[in-house]
Amino acid sequence: MADVSIRNVTKRFGDTTAVSDLSIDIADGEFIVLLGPTGAGKTTTLRLIAGLEAPDAGRLSIAGRDVTKAPPAARDVAFVFQQYSLYPHLSVYDNLAFPLRSPIRPMAKAAIDAKVRTIAAMLKIEDKLANKATKLSGGQMQRVAIGRALVRDPAIYLMDEPLSSLDAKLRADLRLELKRIQAELGATILYVTHDQTEAMTMASRIGVIDRGRLVQIGTPREIYENPFNAYVAQRLGQPAINLVDAGLFPDLAIPQRTATLGLRTEHVAIARVGGAARGEGRGLVRRVEHLGDQNHIHVELDGTPLVLLADADSDIGAGDRVDVRPERPLFFDREGARL
């Protein structure tokens, strides 16, 4: 394990700039999640670090060693791909042993065997070792793929949406497991995803990436509570933050130049007309989504739709008139920058 540093890295494919002037320092033992939509340059960033792509500008160093021009094999990284993860012609055992049998890191047969069995046990796939890689379920395949990275002890593990093709239940299980394993091994991981839940639950720091640029990096709490701009605020929160015109709540004290208000669903008080709270606006409840532990209330306020959060036992229903009062609004200027 070691520090990884990415300095002002740029990568272009023809006319499109996939990664633009990106800098991140990853400390030993950190679990960094790069969060961004499809096409934001997350995967390209991983491929640059792995050496599968060469940067057009910038420098990469791993453990203090400049690896900008080094071939993938010499970089001491492990990669978990989103798909095509297992060698179809090999058994599970051989898939796991494959990285250990590489000619640049000669290792004794017994040591390889011990390592493969330890990792298989950790991932609960010991009984599948003799299987063909293709005779596994999706979840098992992905465990093996992660295992193939974990058998090594590289400077950094690079993971490209390794859980994205799994069903929700399995994804939640593996998420926890991955976090546990990371803590257990003290591994340094750079993990790429568009799933905010994965980012929030696993990351020690989240880097929000947009069109090849790193917009903000910080702990999940920092990113959530203190977003740098409206884009970052929109990336986190389920349902997404409400971005409304600054004039929607005339009574609210707002800083100058505020163009947009950001209202997290849970940062808005809602009360039926006739209740205790006095409202600035008068809203009409269009629809209520009952999720069991909470309700999402879709309110229309002077023609602006808002999604708000209410307790599971709230008795607000469609057609009710409600008062809506922002509690901890975020202020953004015309360009979306935070005020």
């Binding site: 993938p72 990669f79 798909q83 494959f98 590489s102 000619p103």
Partner: protein
């Protein structure tokens, strides 16, 4: 579905009627293809008069005369001379005596057959090896003028081979490659390599690059990744390509007639000129043809498993 009992029939599955028609078509095609082969096999077991009798004989007394004539050379002798000889030793000698002949030596069939084996398998090996490497290069690297080069490679197959026969004949004569096994291997390799490149490029394109990338990150060089990851997954394509190349090289006639006459002559130009007593020795020709078919059938059966196999069994989730 009757009484709501599902028999798990997919709508994309062919109906029983379609299945029966398809089966009938396949059987018909198989019969059309196989009847000439059976006829050749039968003819190889006939005596020369039976082989040319009209109407053709379906039932006949089988004899090994065709095979004996194929493997031996014989000479006609006078009745007095034959009577003075000791009793015939061996089946072929016996058959020859009945035709007032004696066996005087082995024919050229065995060496010609070996030439075919060496040239066909040698050129197939070269074509598939070169084809695999070239196809990998075209599939994975940025080759300048890639599309033009690929078209050029394909275009070598567009003219009939006989169109270049005379230039090649002259070149070979100058280079001393006429009637040599090396010359024939080179020629068949160069013809087959274009087919091999195109076929294999398709197969290698299908193998996701992620496998090699994974291997390279895991500490393997590109060549090692190629050997350990690409080749095993390309076996199906390599097997299919090898069969096509082998069939071409094995059956090739025009260049073989033109460029080989003696030491390097292959079986195809040799077989039609097997002359017996009083003209073409059809049973011997049929016997040679039957034996000539065996290696290719064996090779195809050997690789059949790979031909039928899907390339990655759906291991990749697309």
């Amino acid at each position: 579905m009757a009484a709501g009992i599902s028999t798990a029939h997919s709508v994309v599955e062919p109906s029983p009627l379609v299945r029966r028609i398809a089966g009938a078509v396949v059987i018909l095609y198989a019969l059309i293809t196989i009847v000439p082969l059976i006829w050749i096999g039968l003819t190889s077991l006939k005596s020369p008069p039976d082989s040319i009798s009209y109407p053709p004989k379906i039932l006949f007394e089988p004899t090994l005369e065709g095979y004996c004539n194929l493997f031996t050379t014989r000479s006609r002798q006078t009745a007095e001379y034959l009577q003075g000889l000791p009793a015939a030793s061996g089946r072929c000698e016996e058959i020859a005596r009945q035709r007032s002949m004696v066996v005087v030596g082995a024919s050229n069939f065995v060496p010609r057959f070996w030439n075919s084996v060496i040239i066909a398998f040698g050129s197939t090996f070269c074509a598939v090896t070169l084809g695999t490497l070239a196809a990998y290069g075209f599939s994975r690297f940025k080759v300048p003028l890639k599309d033009d080069l690929l078209f050029f490679i394909l275009s070598t197959r567009m003219m009939p081979p006989i169109a270049v026969a005379i230039p090649i004949f002259l070149m070979y004569r100058e280079l001393g490659l006429s009637d040599t096994k090396l010359g024939m291997i080179l020629l068949y390799t160069s013809v087959n390599v274009s087919l091999a490149v195109w076929l294999l490029k398709g197969f290698i394109d299908e193998i996701p690059r992620e496998y090699e990338e994974a291997a390279m990150i895991d500490g393997y060089s590109r060549l090692q990744a190629f050997v350990k990851v690409v080749l095993p997954q390309a076996t199906t394509g390599i097997a299919a390509t090898a069969i096509f190349c082998l069939i071409f090289a094995w059956n090739e006639y025009a260049f073989a007639v033109l460029l080989t006459s003696g030491t390097a002559q292959t079986a195809p130009p040799f077989i039609p000129i097997i002359i017996g007593e009083g003209g073409q020795d059809w049973p011997a020709v049929a016997a040679a043809t039957t034996l000539f078919l065996i290696p290719i059938v064996a090779f195809t059966i050997l690789l059949r498993k790979h031909l039928l196999r899907g390339i990655t069994f759906g291991a990749v989730r697309k």
